[in-house]
Amino acid sequence: MTKAFRPDVDAPEWKGGYSPYDIVKEGIIAVVIVSILTVLLSVAFGSPDDPSITIKAWSTNAPMDFATTALSELNGTSGSAGYGAPYNNASTGQQLGPLRLAKWVGDRIPVNTVNDFIIDPLKSLPKQPALTADLSQWSSASVSARAGWVKNYSQAANKMQIVSGQLVVNATNAGPLPVMMADLFQMARTGALDQALVTQNGFYTSDYTLPLLFLADGTYLSNIAQKQHLTGDQWGMMNETGNYPGQAWLWLYTFWYQVTPMNSSGNGDILVWGIMMVLSAGLLLTPFIPGLRSIPRKTRVYRLIWREHYRSLP
């Protein structure tokens, strides 16, 4: 018994004619044309290369933003401090229904914003009597004493000022923090903090996790990105600086970030990823999905593609 012909699965055997086809010539012509087109586009448009933002530039151009971000790293209110996995366990993180994927994997890239962004960089400074004494006081203090200092410093920081290039916070009962934070501010403005954040793992490094997290916690980076139309609500994931096409192929991924509830949900990222995983699986398995695999036959777009073939039929 012969199996019934399924038009969306089976293909008819070709019994028609053949025409000459020089595959090598076609390939070489394609390479030449694409190469010429590439050169022409490169000459005409070039490529963007806006310099990276440094913490030195951030603390110089937006000193209050840097200082308040450093404070948020200290008192645990920054995005990184409360992020959750993979950096810490400060929050559950995003979840897709009952699936808490990030939390299950855990904090495999541990980031302690107080130690990594403030204390350890300060320790890398050349020995200064006041700072050395303050760091010693901090490291030998109890957890509750530190919490009290941070609380008092944070309250006084409402009236934070930059005076003659110095960070001034008139805090009382804040222990070593006024000196430490002022020194961190100076360290940032000299560029030493940029270096200290990337060299915590030794001389050679290519891991920029710490400085990038620190930068992203402030608003300086995002303000520049907004001017370049790069933020999430500006379809930013697929764009790049200047008038360049960017990753236009990410349009569908970026699209979901413009749609409710993904554009407002705390679980927006995992919702978008969930949708894209399902759609990608659908694309991959199209040959096996009834209905989806019938669309080409039913829409008859193929009549346009093979119009010469159908025209030649009796």
Binding site: S47, S52, T209, E240, W273, L284
Partner: protein
């Protein structure tokens, strides 16, 4: 050594299998079915050609290292060629993909050809993304700090850290291109083995 013993060798069996599935006239054909006559067929070979230019310009960038293109006008031009060849590559690949969809190109035992094409497309997206976050400029700072939230939300960020320039650069210049090229070769060989999908028969248009 007897003939039977030679025939049982893995090497002999593999050679016979490959030669049976992909004889020279299939691997490098000099004719094609007459229905293969549409502008849409151009985009498959254009994708392959663009992939070649992408790899060539990427190799040129690799010669002087990742910082070269920031400080040299020649390096910047090579980077521009790398960028635009990638744009051409994706443009051609997306049209190729839609063209193949509307041909229902998986018919006639070609499902694996379709699937290797889709996986190549997804791998190419990951390859391009790692390139964007490896540029070591403002774009890479912004894109990586934004993208981390999506990837971290899946749990993958614990192992695939988009803020780690070294890791992303290695994936961009070694692992993902290798995967993309292997998949592309497999995809093209499957096309050669199975041939280009024939048109729907007129009688099947109203079937089902």
């Amino acid at each position: 050594m007897s003939t039977t013993e030679i025939d049982r060798q893995w090497t002999t069996r593999l050679r016979k299998r490959v030669a049976g599935k992909l004889p020279p006239e299939k691997l490098l054909p000099d004719t094609q079915p007459t229905y293969v006559s549409s502008w849409i067929y151009v985009f498959g070979v254009t994708t392959l050609a663009a992939l070649g230019v992408v790899i060539a310009t990427g190799c040129l960038l690799a010669i002087r290292g990742p910082q070269w293109w920031h400080t040299s006008s020649v390096g910047h031009f090579v980077n521009s060629m790398h960028l635009w060849s990638v744009e051409i590559f994706f443009f051609a690949m997306v049209i190729h993909l839609w063209g193949k969809y509307f041909m229902a190109a998986w018919r006639g035992g070609r499902a694996l050809t379709w699937m290797t094409g889709v996986v190549t497309f997804l791998t190419s997206i990951a390859t391009a993304f790692t390139g964007y976050v490896s540029q070591s400029n403002f774009d890479s700072q912004w894109i990586s700090t934004q993208a981390k939230d999506g990837i971290n939300s899946t749990g993958a960020g614990a192992f695939w850290n988009v803020l780690n320039l070294g890791q992303m650069l290695m994936w961009h210049i070694v692992l993902l291109p290798l995967a993309a090229v292997v998949l592309t070769v497999l995809h093209v060989l499957l096309v050669r083995v199975k041939g280009v999908v024939p048109p729907f028969e007129k009688t099947t248009e109203v079937a089902q």
